[in-house]
């Protein structure tokens, strides 16, 4: 399966899905004009990968500074997709990074983790 690498723009995050290593990441800011152009490819890749990832161990790093409501909804959908896959037996660990003083981003992480039953969800502060 091809890796998915998309550079960050001013309004969309950097995407790095390394399927061979089982490490996926989203970093940066997300408030695109049109959520589907940004999250469409991400979703398609994630759905395709999770469909053939039985019995593997995956790590997903989120390091987001800011996102809008559409992006929040898209993230929720991604977590649901991951939780379903985890229920089927894919081992998934999520690392949710936030800046030390960014309480909002920490609370978003906590909210997302409440809906997850099968995914291991870690909150961690970034270095700076």
């Amino acid at each position: 399966m091809d890796n998915l690498v998309i550079a960050a723009t001013e309004r969309s995050p950097a995407v790095d899905f390394d399927f061979a290593a089982g490490v996926l990441s989203l970093k940066g800011e997300s408030y695109p004009e049109d959520a589907s152009t940004v999250f469409g490819p991400i979703f398609a890749a994630l759905e395709g990968f999770l469909g053939v990832a039985e019995c593997r161990a995956l790590r997903f790093d989120f390091e987001l500074i800011y996102f809008n409501s559409s992006s929040a909804k898209a993230l929720m959908n991604m977590f649901q997709l991951m939780d379903k896959a985890a229920a089927r037996g894919v081992t998934i660990e999520v690392n949710w990074f936030f800046a030390r003083e960014d309480e909002t981003m920490k609370e978003f992480g906590e909210d997302f983790s409440e809906d997850l039953e099968h995914v291991t969800f870690n909150l961690a502060t970034t270095q700076n």
Binding site: Y31, E33, D34, A35, S36, T37, F39, G40, P41, F43, A44, N68, S69, S70, K73, A74, N77, Q80
Partner: protein, 350 residues
């Protein structure tokens, strides 16, 4: 529900649930009406709720976009304002330097004027002596010198050489004092100096301007009072005070008395009071006279920097304080207080 392009739909899961609810309702067609109606009303509520969610996400996205662009605009304007401020400060600094040079120019003009008189006298005496000598030589070569001729020549030689000597000495003294003032003004060097003598030298350089305006100057300073500090700053302060009085202090044709009074109220603290008996400063202007660019003579040569420079020198290099006391029609009095001995540290820019 319209799907977004690329097959991606934020509310895909919700729409699937609604489709399942519709299928369930159809399969319940044969069941009891209350169950059917119940499922139908639940489905309808959920549909409304999903619609509401979509609407909220859209509204929220729009607000967040607006917020982001407002923030960007804010950052841009802040950067612009900061840049403008930096440019303004630079321009102000340039103007302050130009103003200082201009007042040095006034000093140079004064000195040139002052030196002109003794040099002129010496020149005409020398020329008169040369003429008399040529006449004597002619008489001598004709072997026709009388006692009277010789006596007259001796008198002329003695008078003119005395005048030449005195006036050259006067010119040399002026050059010496000006040289010191000019060096202090441009070098910002710290040194020990006799306060009374230094005030005298600075005022002497300015005296043509003062005399031209018809003003009198009185200086009262304890003799032998030695100060360790920055004479250039003091000279600049006095020059600006005097030039201010000449430009603003009196109505045209009116003249008065400028006074400089120095004492040492507390050991080690010098108090210099500069006063004129001119038209004073209007109350509305009093709080602004030290502000840069404040002038009542804009367009008539005033830059509004003279007293701003005075204030900066008084509180900077001189490490002192400056107060103004003035009322319309009752003259202006500046009180400069500064330590007799400047503290150490790097020499400030003057």
């Amino acid at each position: 529900m319209a799907k977004s392009d690329g097959g991606f739909n934020l509310f895909d899961a919700e729409e699937r649930v609604l489709a399942e609810a519709n299928a369930l309702r159809e399969s319940l067609a044969e069941s009891a009406p209350d169950i059917r109606n119940g499922v139908e009303s639940l489905t309808e509520s959920y549909r409304r709720s999903v619609r509401e969610q979509r609407r909220l996400v859209k509204v929220s996205d729009r607000l967040q976009n607006q917020l982001a662009s407002v923030n960007q605009e804010l950052a841009r304007r802040k950067a612009e304002a900061e840049e403008a401020l930096a440019r303004l400060r630079e321009a102000q600094e340039t103007l302050v330097q130009a103003e200082k040079l201009a007042s040095l120019g006034a000093l140079v003009g004064g000195v040139a004027h002052e030196i002109n008189t003794p040099v002129g006298i010496a020149l005409s005496c020398a020329s008169h002596l040369a003429d008399s000598t040529a006449q004597m030589r002619a008489l001598f070569e004709a072997d026709d010198i009388g006692v009277e001729d010789f006596e007259r020549y001796m008198e002329t030689a003695s008078d003119t050489s005395q005048l030449i000597l005195a006036n050259c000495e006067r010119a040399a003294a002026l050059i010496r004092s000006f040289k010191q003032v000019a060096v202090d003004r441009t070098s910002s060097e710290r040194r020990r100096f006799d306060l009374a003598a230094y005030i005298g030298e600075t005022l002497a350089s300015l005296s043509p301007r003062v005399r031209q305006a018809g003003h009198k100057v009185t200086i009262t300073c304890p003799p032998g009072l030695e100060v360790d500090g920055y004479p250039g700053a003091l000279s600049q302060v006095l020059t600006n005070f005097v030039m201010n009085t000449i430009v603003h202090g009196y109505d045209p044709g009116q003249s008065g008395t400028l006074s400089i009074t120095v004492d040492e109220p507390v050991a080690g603290q010098i108090r210099l009071v500069y006063a004129d008996d001119g038209c004073g400063i209007a109350d509305a202007h009093k709080n602004r006279i030290f502000d840069p660019f404040f002038t009542t003579r804009r367009g008539a040569g005033g830059t509004g920097l003279g007293l701003h420079i005075v204030y900066n020198l008084a509180t900077g290099p001189l490490e002192g304080s400056l107060a103004v006391d003035s009322a319309t029609g009752h003259g202006t009095r500046f009180t400069l207080t500064f330590p007799r001995q400047a503290s150490g540290g790097t020499p400030p820019e003057i």
